[in-house]
Each structure stands twice: as structure tokens, then as C-alpha cells.
């Protein structure tokens, strides 16, 4: 049996925060939404991450949201946090959140005036360029679903 080294890499801990691991293990709003009015698929060809995002829109308000699919801890946690966040939100606000969140996950010097709440837990991906797409995939799918695009969203 090998001795397990102490977890000394802060960056790794920063990426795999407890909140992320919790949402990855127990994703919220997971499954198909029967009452969905809008849906989109997100595909990350590099990883093979694939998810379906479902929205129930009523008068431009997201009444309900869910997702299903398979992916890494980061993409599943991100989708789970997304659904938690956008339920009850106006679509215009959700698009604003899309802009803010994708900016914060990709841009070191992003404006942090806007409070992205629990989604701050995903900011660790900035140090992992190959994983940024995992974290933004669900958000791209959200954008597509609201705009009702017919082709799958891709992070490419």
C-alpha cells in the first residue's frame, strides 16, 4: 500500500472545493424536466462532457430548470449550481448572469462588483485553462436554450 501524500497543493483544493464536490456527488435538479418549454444540449468535445439543460419558461421567467447527462465533477457541479441559481429568474437576468459568470471564470481581472454568490466556488478553474470549458458548458447551454438554438451548444 502506498502512503498517501498530504494534500499540499492549494490550487487543487481551490479547484475541488467542498461545495463543488458536494454538487458533483449529489447534483441538484438532475433529470429530465417534463414540463420543459426550452432545452439545449451542451457538448465539450475535448472531454466528452455532454449535458441536456431543460427550462420551463413562462412569460420570460424561468419557472423551473433541470439537467441530465454525464461529465466531470466540474461540469456537473457547474450545471447543478446553475439550476439552483436561475430558477425564478427572468431570462434577461439569466443572460446577464451568463455574461458575468463566464467572464469571472475566464478572466482574471473580471469586474467582481456583481455578486455571483455560490458560483464563486468555480473560480478556481481560472488556474486550469483546460478545465474552464467544463465550468462554462452548462452556461453556454443555458444561453442556447433561452435563445432556442437548434444546434448543440459547444464551448469551442
Amino acid at each position: 500500500m502506498n502512503t498517501v501524500e498530504a494534500i499540499d497543493a492549494d490550487e487543487l483544493r481551490d479547484l475541488y472545493r467542498e461545495l463543488i464536490l458536494d454538487h458533483a456527488r449529489k447534483p441538484r435538479h438532475f433529470g429530465k424536466l417534463e414540463s420543459a418549454t426550452h432545452a439545449a444540449q451542451g457538448i465539450n468535445p475535448l472531454c466528452g462532457d455532454k449535458l441536456h439543460l431543460y427550462l420551463q419558461l413562462e412569460n420570460d421567467v424561468i419557472r423551473d430548470a433541470s439537467f441530465e447527462g454525464s461529465g466531470c465533477a466540474i461540469s456537473v457541479a457547474s450545471a447543478s449550481l446553475l439550476t439552483d441559481t436561475v430558477i425564478g429568474m427572468k431570462t434577461d437576468d439569466a443572460i446577464h448572469w451568463f455574461d458575468q459568470v463566464t467572464d469571472r471564470l475566464t478572466n482574471e481581472s473580471a469586474n467582481s462588483d456583481f455578486d455571483i454568490g455560490k458560483l464563486q466556488a468555480l473560480e478556481g478553474v481560472r488556474e486550469f485553462p483546460s478545465r474552464v470549458k467544463c465550468a462554462t458548458l452548462a452556461w453556454h447551454a443555458l444561453h442556447s436554450a433561452i435563445e432556442q438554438r437548434s444546434t448543440p451548444a459547444s464551448t469551442e
Binding site: M1, N2, V4, I7, Y16, L21, G48, A73, I74
Partner: protein, 413 residues
């Protein structure tokens, strides 16, 4: 040349010092490179040969009467001769230089198969194939109305050889099969497979991208019609590849692309094509890359392919044993005959999370579907973590891998 250690009783080589890129730290730890099946590193002998060519000899080949052009041509064509000898082809006319395995296979699909395939004909491949030995056949079958048959695999990641033989009916025009699976490391019994195909007069293309770096290849012995491989998986530069083809078949095939160098005479009313192999080499080739590939072959020959195979065999056994001792590890690909590659899963941790954690400890592995989605579909997994070995790896590298996997298990516990 290389500072190869004497052949030791435990059969392990010690040549990592020949590879400058390995001498570095990644995230504060010495780099352990276990992704050679994706692309192998280059020894100083290759890097220096390419640099010296650029410094001293560069010019276009087959064109000039001046000294540099003659030197470049001699070095480039010299590499072709080395390749011919390395795989024991009958003639240098059978060595077509390409950009890689992918182009080699597409060349056969489009120049050999497309003009001859008719609706109702069949092309036979297997579920073990890399996308580059999958998609070109899907395309040519769509273009011609031919049917694509896919031979199945078993739970160990081996071809179902009985089923494969049953699928080899008279209306199969060509069988395209990998020598070694890139995702699982399975070594197919290629001579038997070619033998069965020949009995039924089926042409055979072998995707040798993962075969050539790990074992001595003798195309005459294998008996196949085409054998495709890449330079960068055998310690040469990227953008180089080879299509070996039987001369009689290549002779009858139309050109792959049109352009300079592939012609004897161009007139307003038509063109006379060049001889083999130049008929298939339109445009200025990857001169420095091919010369570098020649240096890689010299390097491999100096060590000896049998010693390389022995080294990798010992190390693979060690790695498989160590990995299966880790709690929660499931090995994917446990064929009886394997080389240099082990795919695995760790509990329900997604391979990409595993890859990131390992990278953070300086251990480079490949994660994902390995351009073999049909294999992943068979095992009903999105992808695997894949550690692949080469001549420069050691048992210490395997120990570092295991420690890193243990750490990932700990983080996700």
C-alpha cells in the same frame, strides 16, 4: 547517439537522459510523461538532426541542381530508405510519405477504394479502431453506397476472432484493422487475421500507428496490402507519416492529390503522373520532419526493437499489477496480448478530474475517449484515464503514477 545502458537482467532500459524534454519539473515535481501513445517525445538525436538540417542544408527537394537542394534531397530520400529497411518493404517505391497515419488511411480510402467500391460491396472494420481508421471508411461507404461492417470486441477488449472470420465474406472488398489498439493496448493477431483475409481474397490495410513504436515490424511477414503509421508516435517529428503499399496496388491507383512533384509532364490537355512513390506526394513535403524521422529510426535501431519490446513488457506488467492493487481501480482493456497502454477508471471519478489531479503532481496521462468513442460505447463509459509507456519510462514513473492516483482517491473520498 544514445547512451544506452547494457542489457540488464531485468530487461529495463535507461535512456530517459536522451530526451531533453523529460528533464523538467511540472507543478514543482519532476515530470513523469505517460502519454506517449498520444505523442512520443523526441530524443536529442532527432532534435539535433532537424536543427542541423535547418542550419546547414535546407532547400526544396527534387527540384534544384544547386548544392543545398542536392543535400536536402539526399537526406530526405535517405530517410525513405531507412523506413523501407525498418519495416522490411520490398522496394522504396512502396514507401509513400504522408502527414501521418490519418492521411495514409484516407489516401487508401479515396484513391484505392473509392474508384472500385460499388453499392453492395463491403468494407470491414472493427469496434476497436481509432477514429482515423473508422471515419475514412464511413465516408467512402457513404460516397459509394458500399456497406460498412464492424466486427465486435469482447469484455477484455479483444477482437471476437470467430465473428471477424464470419464477417469476411466474398463481397468484402477491404478489411481495415489496427495492429495495436490505442485506447486499450490490445495487440491483434495480425498475421492470422491477414491470413484469413487472403484466403478470401480480401485486401487488408493495417493501422500500425501504435504498433511500430513498440515492436519490430515486418510487412512482408505480416502479408498485408497496406500498412499505415505516424512519425511522432515513434519519437520522430509531428506531421510525418508513412503509407506502405504493395507496389502493384499503388501502381494501379490514381493520384491522391494533384500538384507539384507528382507529375512528369503537365500540358494544357493533360498530365503524365510521376513514378511511385512520388505520384502520391504532391507539393513540397515535410522535408525536415522526414529527415528527423530517419534519425528516430537510427535511434530505435541502435537500441533494438526487441529490447524495446522487452522493456515495455516488463514495465506494463508492473504497471497493471500496481494499478489493480489500488482500491477502486478498474482496468479497462485486459487482453491476453497487450503492449504499453493501460486504460483505467478510479471509482466514479471522471477521467478528466483524475487527469487534472495527476497533472498537478507532475504526472501526464491522457484522459477522455482517446479518439475511440466506439470502444468507450462498448464499455458504457464516457472515457478512461490512460497511462502509456515508452522506452524512456521507468518503474519509478509507475510508482509516481500510483502515488498520484492514491492522492486523487483521497481528494474524492
Amino acid at each position: 547517439m544514445s547512451q544506452v545502458q547494457p542489457f540488464t537482467t531485468n530487461a529495463l532500459l535507461d535512456v530517459s537522459g536522451d530526451f531533453p524534454v523529460l528533464d523538467q519539473e511540472v507543478h514543482g515535481r519532476p515530470l513523469v510523461y505517460l502519454d506517449s501513445a498520444a505523442s512520443a517525445q523526441q530524443p536529442a538525436a532527432v532534435i539535433d538532426t532537424v536543427a542541423a538540417y535547418h542550419r546547414n542544408d535546407h532547400a526544396n527537394v527534387h527540384r534544384g541542381v544547386h548544392t543545398l537542394s542536392e543535400r536536402a534531397t539526399e537526406a530526405y530520400e535517405g530517410a525513405r530508405d531507412k523506413i523501407q529497411a525498418f519495416i522490411n518493404a520490398n522496394s522504396r517505391r512502396e514507401i509513400v510519405l504522408t502527414s501521418g497515419t490519418t492521411e495514409s488511411i484516407n489516401l487508401v480510402a479515396q484513391s484505392y477504394c473509392r474508384p472500385q467500391l460499388k453499392p453492395g460491396n463491403k468494407v470491414l472494420i472493427t469496434q476497436l479502431e481509432h477514429h482515423s481508421n473508422f471515419v475514412p471508411w464511413q465516408l467512402v461507404c457513404e460516397q459509394t453506397g458500399a456497406d460498412l461492417l464492424i466486427a465486435p470486441i469482447d469484455r477484455r477488449g479483444q477482437l471476437d476472432l470467430e465473428r471477424l472470420q464470419e464477417l469476411m465474406t466474398e463481397d468484402v472488398f477491404l478489411l481495415a484493422v489496427g495492429h495495436v489498439s490505442n485506447a486499450l493496448g490490445t495487440v491483434n493477431p495480425i498475421q492470422d487475421i491477414v491470413g484469413w483475409a487472403k484466403q478470401r481474397d480480401i485486401k487488408v490495410l493495417v493501422d500500425g500507428a501504435q504498433g511500430v513504436p513498440h515492436m519490430a515490424i515486418d510487412v512482408a511477414d505480416i502479408g498485408c496490402d497496406f500498412y499505415a503509421f505516424s512519425g511522432h508516435k515513434m519519437f520522430g517529428p509531428t506531421g510525418t507519416g508513412v503509407l506502405y503499399g504493395r507496389e502493384a496496388l499503388l501502381d494501379d491507383m490514381p493520384p491522391w492529390q494533384g500538384g507539384g512533384d507528382m507529375i512528369l509532364e503537365v500540358r494544357l490537355d493533360g498530365t503524365v503522373f510521376n513514378d511511385l512513390p512520388y505520384k502520391f506526394e504532391a507539393g513540397t513535403p515535410n522535408i525536415s520532419g522526414v529527415i528527423g524521422l530517419g534519425a528516430a529510426i537510427d535511434y530505435l535501431n541502435a537500441i533494438g526493437m526487441d529490447r524495446i519490446a522487452a522493456h515495455e513488457h516488463v514495465l506494463l506488467e508492473y504497471m497493471m499489477g500496481k494499478l489493480s492493487d489500488v482500491d477502486g481501480v478498474r482496468l479497462i482493456g485486459t487482453a491476453e496480448s497487450k503492449t504499453s497502454v493501460q486504460s483505467f477508471m478510479l471509482g466514479d471519478i471522471h477521467p478528466h478530474d483524475l487527469g487534472t489531479i495527476l497533472d498537478h503532481q507532475g504526472v501526464a496521462i491522457r484522459t477522455g475517449h482517446h479518439c475511440a468513442m466506439p470502444v468507450m460505447d462498448f464499455f458504457e463509459i464516457p472515457g478512461t484515464a490512460r497511462a502509456s509507456l515508452a522506452i524512456y519510462n521507468s518503474s519509478d514513473d509507475v510508482d509516481r503514477l500510483i502515488a498520484a492516483v492514491e492522492k486523487a482517491r483521497h481528494i474524492f473520498a
